[in-house]
């Protein structure tokens, strides 16, 4: 099992696409350039799993890579000491190299789950904030131009945008032919009550209040709850959504849509639209929850950092297998940012 990936890595390196060191094809289109890359490829290939060590997704992928004899590091702050980064952009092209420590390793693939602030000990708070921002900026640039497989290579919007509410995903969902329950933002209690009446007329009791900056939703169904909502509206607009039925998650990994075994068959009919959504978001790894509502089936959450625990155990294994395969895929000819 372990020989194949090693051969595969060597083949990729000879084709001029080393994992960690990243050079524009235009920079050295000569045999000398290829020879230099082959020499570089003698370093040990390693996969980098960018995320929390406690993240089950990182841990699961690392275990699968280890089973194939491939080492992987889970790192939450990849540029923190003792890492060494050299990222250079010049007329001739881009070259970059990240070494995680004394052990020179060639990065063969990266899974992006998230980053964490480095240890603040010894730093003034303002300086720590500044240095964290610098590390985020450098990490994004490094990830953007990497030639090895990068699962969920982030855009600046995703990298800096924080958790996006369902409202933010609406235009993209609409473009992919996926419906979303009706939503309302208002600080006017009369508008909230009109929404309540509209839903009631269709036989739907109550509405779901979901803070745009939070994850939890709260069913507002009783008069007391509506009065409490009106109090809140004096201070801030609230986001109300049409309630929905039981939600079932789907995980898109590469071009594969993975469902729990008990997912309703009608949900599975949305598979092609979900694939389209993944393409539109440029994310290789995406979780979407589907639920029935007044007008049919719709999307109720979009999660660009899928949560393995949302799925049943057999599904988790399939997701991790698919993710591992993605990381071992042949190198892309050229990352988009380099074209």
């Amino acid at each position: 099992m372990s020989a194949k990936p090693a051969r595969s890595h060597r083949r990729r390196a000879m084709a001029g696409a080393p994992g960690n060191s990243n050079e524009d094809a235009l920079a050295e289109p000569t045999d000398l350039g290829i020879a230099r890359r082959v020499r570089d490829s003698r370093t040990r290939p390693v996969h980098l799993l960018l995320g929390d060590p406690a993240d089950s997704c990182c841990a699961g992928v690392r275990a699968r890579l280890a089973a194939r004899g491939l080492p992987a590091h889970i790192v939450a702050s990849p540029l923190a000491p003792p890492a060494r980064l050299v990222w250079r952009l010049a007329d001739g092209g881009l070259s970059s190299r990240l070494e995680l420590g004394d052990d020179a390793a060639e990065i063969a693939g990266v899974l992006v789950r998230g980053t964490a602030r480095f240890d603040p000990a010894g730093w003034e708070p303002a300086d720590h904030t500044y240095m964290h921002a610098e590390m985020l900026a450098a990490t994004l640039a490094w990830l953007t131009a990497l030639r090895c497989p990068v699962v969920n290579r982030p855009s600046a919007a995703l990298w800096y945008g924080g958790r996006a509410s369902l409202l933010t995903w609406r235009p993209l969902l609409r473009r992919c032919g996926l419906h979303v329950p009706e939503q309302l933002i208002t600080n006017d209690p009369a508008e909230a009550h009109a929404f309540r009446r509209r839903l009631a007329a269709d036989g739907v009791a109550g509405a779901v209040y979901t803070p745009l900056t939070g994850e939890a939703g709260y069913l507002v169904a009783t008069d007391a709850a509506w009065n409490g909502l009106a109090d809140l509206q004096e201070r801030s607009p609230v986001c109300l959504s049409e309630p929905h039925g039981a939600a079932h998650p789907a995980c898109i990994v590469g071009g594969e849509v993975i469902w729990d075994d008990d997912s309703p068959p009608e949900n599975r009919e949305l598979a092609s639209r979900l694939r389209q959504l993944a393409v539109a978001t440029r994310l290789d790894f995406l979780e979407v929850a589907i639920a029935p509502f007044r007008r049919g089936l719709g999307v109720v959450t979009v999660e660009p950092v899928p949560v393995l625990e949302h799925f049943a155990a057999p599904t988790r294994a399939r997701i991790l297998d698919a993710l591992t395969s993605l990381l071992l895929a042949p190198f892309a000819p050229e990352p988009e940012a380099m074209r």
Binding site: L79, A80, P81, P82, A83, L85, V86, R88, L89, A90, D91, L94, F118, T129, Y130, M131, A133, E134, M135, L136, A137, A138, L140, A141, W142, T144, S155, A156, A157, L158, W159, G161, S165, T168, R170, P171, L172, R174, R175, H179, V180, Q183, L184, I185, T186, N187, E191, F195, L212, T213, R235, S236, P237, C239, T281, P304, E336, A337, M338, R339
Partner: protein, 325 residues
Amino acid sequence: MILVCGGLADGVTELVCARLQDSGYPYRLLDLARYPAGYRLAWRWTDAGPAGTVAGPDWALDLDALTGVYVRYLGPEGRLPPQGDPEAAAALQVEADAGLVALLENLSCPVVNRIGGGMSNNSKPYQALLLRRAGLKVPTTLVTNDPAVARAFQAEHGDVIYKSASGIRSIVRRLGPAQQARLVLLRYGPAQFQAYVPGHNVRVHTVGDTVFATRIETGAVDYRYAHLDGLDVAMTAVTLPAEVAAACLRAARELDLLFAGIDLKETPDGDYVCFEVNPCPGFIYYERHTGQPISAALADLLKGTTPAAWPAGRSSHRLTHSTRR
């Protein structure tokens, strides 16, 4: 009808409002210093997109009637002091702002600018990759936490500047003896270095498909802070070579910015090198010094009398990579 979201104490927002007034273009101001207090909001999303109204003290505006939105967000210093528990007030303000951002990202009319387009400004080296892809030349750049590599870069280029890779503390400085002595501190985190590019700064403002370029002549490394060094600044309106102007428009389009401030340098060889794109340019400085009708062009864009450079409503950009078109 045009919606302006900003603070009247902010000079740029004030100028935009004044220009709309002068142009006879009707507008409403959503005062972000007070928002959401004093405003009635009712925005409803169906599969067809957002609909509804925003109402101020003596006006109401239907979202369907909007021809354009100008927004310039305020920091906490621009807001009225919060009432009640500061922590709760801050959380509610963030929630209210998130609602406004969601609306603006979803509107189909031109929005100057949607927030997603400006995110690249938080990572200058990332943005440099996008600018290069748009056809703009960028300076030779090194991002490293290795002191030896930084020293070698300076030995190679002689004159080197350093500036933050992020959007924080973004002041350009020459790498001199004092900084060289501190390069050992790089081990704690990376910094960005660039080969110094000689020549005159050129600030370009793109407004839809219109380009305004201003040449800035000064002895300061960073002309924005020339006054701190007691140096003068002279500004002149100039016309860019067609291919450079086209690349600037491509860059703005790539970043989904209907209005952008692009920092170039014109080298003695006649090359143009791009340093960065500002998604929320404070253009007053340039308009007042050169008389270029930047605010008038912006007003026309918001009114819809000049077409936006590209179809409005690319709001999905917020969550996707910019794409080549």
